[in-house]
Every structure is written in C-alpha cells, then in structure tokens.
C-alpha cells in the first residue's frame, strides 16, 4: 500500500511487487469482509435454508424439510377441504407494496427533479449549502420524520386544526391509517435520496448543449425533453432505484402511518416472526423481497454503465 511505487515498468520484480500488493489489499480488507460475512451476508444464506424448514409451534423452526414456506407465499389451502387457492391476502399486500413504492418514486421524482435542477443552477459557491439543506433531513432519524408527519395529519393534528379553525370542514378528516398517509410519509422521508443522485448528474450537465438547443429554435419543453432529460437519465434512474428499494422494504412508515390494515411487505415479514409464528414463510417472503430488489439493481447497473451516476 504505502510502498514507493517505482514507475519504471520492467521485469518480474515489478510483477512480484504487484502480487504482494494485491495480497496486502486483501489482508487489509479482510477484517471488514469478515465482519460483513458474519453479520450481513452470511445470515442471508442461513435464512435461505430456514425458508425450506418446518415452522415450530412457538416460533422458530423444526429441522425438517418442507416446501410449505414457499408454497404459502402465493397460495393457501382451505382449512376444511384442503383445496388450493391463491392467497388473496398476501397478493393484496404485495400489490400494495409495489403500487405505493412506484407512486412514492414518481412523487419523489416530480418534486425532486426541479429541486435538483434548482440546486445545480445556483452559483457554484452556493450549491454546497443548498445540498447540505437536502442532506440534513436525509441523515435525520426516520422515526422522527415519520412522527412529524403523524403530528401533521392526525385527527387532532396541525392540518385538521387549521382546516377546522378556518371552517373548511366540520369534522376532522381521517388521514392517518390510510394508504395515502403511507404514500405521503414515504415520499417525504425518501425525497433526499432522489435529489442527491439527480443533482450529481445535473452538476455535470453541459449547459452549452442546452444553449445549442435554444439556438436551434427548440422551445423550453423541447429542450427539457430532448436535451436535458437524456443527459441526466442515469441520475433519474439512480434516484428512482434509491427511492424504490427502501420504499419496497419500508417498515416504520407504513406501520405508524398506514396502521395494521394497510400493511406493506416489511410489516408482513415482521409479522411472521412475531404473532404469525411462521419463520419459514417469513424467510421465504424476505428472499422474495430481496430478489425483487436485486432485479431493480440489475436494471440500474445496466443503465448506469453508460453514465456512471449515483452518489458516494
């Protein structure tokens, strides 16, 4: 690592040195990799094994092979006549998770795109400050930000109080414990994740191209669609993936704002390890979620190879 690198490239001594450096690189990375294998990657494999076992009566598992966990992800058996049907309750939850995650991503994009553009067109010395203003909420406790939204939309919350006081409504609007509440909450919580990569892409935007567009009599809308959007596409994709993935696995926001009747994937998985006492089903659901996320990441990587966006 910190050896003097002799830039002259001759001989096998050079190759030997390179080999030693690679070994040093691995040795240096090893402790971090071991920690990650122990408390991040390794447990995922154990979970895969658990998804093929039999649930224990009080949670946990019995070491006996069973495909039931995976079967129950999509299907259910009638308790009386054993007929097999689609598990409607599960499908509803999957669909809600997917729908809300897509809507959250779109909402964040519609709000985040102009915001990132705004920051990217500030004078250079101001940009760090505007960016910092986006970063603060990003690092602020998600629980607190969800709580802040709760305070706004509760029946006795700020919005209802103002509307009642203005006389617009006679009774408080029920906004908590709806899908809409989860949607607004997630868009609020994940908006910075959209703005940051979008900004990274726009920061590199060459405005001479935009100018060329205007010189060739393009309208503003045409410039936006034909010049700016294609150039910042990697940022759009990176931001969308960064919002979509945590939305799909969201736990805190749907639990607090959506309530028990508007569960999402994350809550449903947790339920299997709590009251549900069906660890294999929970493990199978987790792996399903992971596969969907990986699919989204593959799409991202394929697209990012062109422009290389993303933050960090």
């Amino acid at each position: 690592m910190a050896q003097p690198t002799d830039d002259a490239r001759h001989g096998h001594a050079e190759r030997e040195a390179a080999r030693r450096r690679v070994r040093a690189n691995w040795l240096l990375s090893a402790p971090a990799l071991a920690m990650l294998a122990f408390a991040a990657s390794g447990p995922l494999l154990i979970m895969l094994v658990y998804s093929f076992l039999t649930p224990g009566d009080y949670g946990g598992i019995v070491w006996k092979f069973s495909g039931e966990g995976w079967f129950q992800v999509l299907f259910s058996r009638d308790i009386f006549d054993e007929t097999v049907g689609l598990a409607d309750a599960h499908l509803t939850i999957f669909w809600r998770s997917l729908e809300l995650s897509i809507l959250t991503t779109l909402l964040a994009l519609v709000l985040g795109f102009p915001t990132a553009y705004f920051i990217a067109t500030r004078p250079r010395e101001q940009r760090a400050l505007w960016l910092f203003l986006v970063t603060i909420p990003f690092w602020t406790n998600l629980l607190i930000r969800t709580f802040a939204i709760m305070e706004l939309i509760r029946n006795e919350g700020v919005i209802n109080s103002i509307l009642l006081w203005l006389g617009v409504i006679d009774a408080p609007l029920q906004m908590m414990f709806t899908e809409g509440a989860t949607l607004v909450g997630m868009a609020y919580v994940y908006l910075p994740l959209m703005v940051l990569p979008l900004y990274a892409a726009m920061d590199r935007l060459d405005f001479r191209l935009v100018e060329a567009g205007y010189d060739l009599y393009a309208t503003r809308l045409q410039v936006l669609r034909k010049v700016i959007l294609p150039l910042v596409k990697p940022g759009v994709i990176a931001g969308s993936i960064l919002v979509f993935i945590p939305s799909l696995g969201a736990y805190v926001t749907p639990r607090l704002l959506g309530g028990g009747r508007n569960m999402m994937m994350g809550n449903f998985i947790e339920l299997q390890f709590g009251q549900g006492r069906n660890w294999p089903l929970g493990a199978a659901l987790s792996i399903t979620l992971l596969l969907v996320v990986m699919l989204a990441l593959v799409v991202y990587v394929k697209n990012a190879n062109k422009g290389g966006a993303g933050h960090g």
Partner: protein
C-alpha cells in the same frame, strides 16, 4: 456565467433577461420542496415546549417535558444503551473501514476488487427488514447454542451496517490525496510504517473522523434492525420511541425527538465543515 452578456444581445426579449438555465416553475417547486422538508419538523419541536399534556393544544411555554424526559429512568437507560452501541459500532466499523479503504484505493485494479466493493456496500442494497430478519434467525441460533444474550449481538449488527457509511468518506478522502507525498517520504528514507504514520494517516484523518461520525449517526438512528435483533429489555432510544408512538403520546416524546434532532444536526454540521476543509 457569461449569460448576462449574451442575454443583453437578444433583441426579442427585452423584459426578462433570457437564461439558458431557467426553467419556468422549477424554482417554485424547489422552494416548496425545501419548505416541505423542514416545515413538518417545526410543530414537533414547538410542542416539545408545551406546558400542557397535549401535543395538539398549546398551553404556554415550559421546559417541563425536557425535565420529565431527563428524570425518566427508562429514557435514561435506553439512551445510554443507544450511546454505548453507537460508540462501539462506529469505533469498530471505522477501524475496519479504514483498513479496507487503504486496501481498495490508490491501487491498480485487481482481481476480486468488485467482490470487495459489493460486500462492503451490501448493507446499502439489501432492505433493512431483510437483514434484520436474517440476523434474528442467525442470532437466535447462537443464543440457543451459547446461552449468551448480551449487547454484543446489537453491536455486531450495527457494526456491519455502519461499515459502508464509514468507508465512503474515508475512500473519498484517500482518492483525493496526493500520492507523491508518500513517495517523497520514502525518498527521504522513511520506512513504509513511518510514511504511513507521519504522512498518510494525518492526511486521511478528516475522512476518518467524518466516517466515524456518520457511522455514529447511522447507528444512533437505526430502528428496524435493532427492533428485530434486540433481546428482551434491550430497547434503544429509537425502538423505545417506536413503542411510545403507538401509545398515547405526550410531549415528552417531542422533547426526546427534538434533543435527538439537535444532536444529529450538530454532528452533521461538524461533518459538513470537516469535509470542506480542503488541503
């Protein structure tokens, strides 16, 4: 920019100077976004100073809820636990991340480098709930096998997901560093260790501090993984708050939230200035 000069030449648009960068309505949306990011936090903070029992009816200013949170034994216990876990997790993860950053930057690309990157960034890609559940299963096995139910599980889990957050600023710092300085040290007969100790380490210090602070904030804020991994009676501040939020809420929770917000913003501001100190 030179836009002003160019705009002045345009005869057809006498009123507003034409700017190639302007998009109508974008600034408005941006301002709405900035307001929307911060506005919801204000009622939360304001009601933490409410003299009354309610978080909806204002009854005058008081420090009452801060005092009650301070005197609350349970709050004290979970806060200390959170700080202990965050201190261990950020310390260990920063040490590991520093080594890994040294091993993966400023080097010709080598076979398996991608594997290291993917491993290190894995906690950022896998949904928290999935990691949490996997850890719940794995640690349950160890708990049965060893009978140990202490805080080490939480610390191990936090350390793992803090590694990428500590790694990124350190790597950024290292990549921006002038390699010739170390070569100069070597030319002046410094041993590799001396060159590292006297040149590399001081230069990368701001990155290490920023990484440690980020890891600390991330650990302090974690809800999902902690909720799944913790043994009975191992609530941290966020999981305690999560429990409270589902019951009748008093402004005490606002006071705790506001205090936590203040700590986070203070740390972030410090990181902001640290990372701007260029050299």
């Amino acid at each position: 920019m030179a836009d002003a000069a160019r705009a002045a030449e345009r005869p057809k648009r006498p009123r507003k100077p034409f700017s190639v960068q302007r998009m109508p309505g974008f600034a408005t949306v941006a301002v709405i976004c900035f307001v929307a990011l911060y506005a919801p936090l204000f009622p939360l903070m304001i009601y933490s100073f409410n003299a009354g029992e309610s978080i909806a009816v204002w009854q005058g200013f008081s420090w009452r809820w801060y005092e009650s949170a301070w005197a609350n034994e349970q709050v004290k216990e979970v806060t200390i636990r959170s700080l202990v876990v965050a201190a261990f997790a950020s310390g260990i993860s920063t040490a590991l991340a520093t080594l890994a950053a040294l091993g993966t930057t400023r080097t010709a690309s080598f076979k398996g480098q991608t594997v290291i990157y993917v491993m290190i960034n894995q906690p950022l890609m896998v949904p928290e709930i999935v990691t949490g559940v996997a850890l719940l299963i794995f640690f349950a096995m160890i708990k049965v096998a060893t009978g140990y139910t202490g805080l080490a599980y939480l610390i191990a889990a936090h350390t793992a997901f803090c590694i990428p957050f500590a790694y990124l600023p350190i790597r950024a710092r290292l990549e921006g560093m002038d390699k010739t300085l170390e070569a100069a040290a070597a030319d002046l007969y410094a041993t590799p260790w001396q060159a590292f100790r006297r040149v590399t380490l001081p230069l990368m210090a701001p990155g290490i501090v920023a990484g440690a602070m980020l890891a600390f904030v991330i650990s302090l804020d974690d809800v999902v993984i902690t909720e799944l991994v913790k043994s009975a009676g191992q609530d941290t501040l966020p999981t305690y708050m999560l429990g409270q939020l589902r019951r009748a809420i008093t402004p005490e929770i606002n006071a705790i939230s506001t205090a936590l917000l203040a700590v986070t913003v203070a740390l972030l501001t410090a990181i902001f200035f640290l990372s701007r100190s260029k050299e």
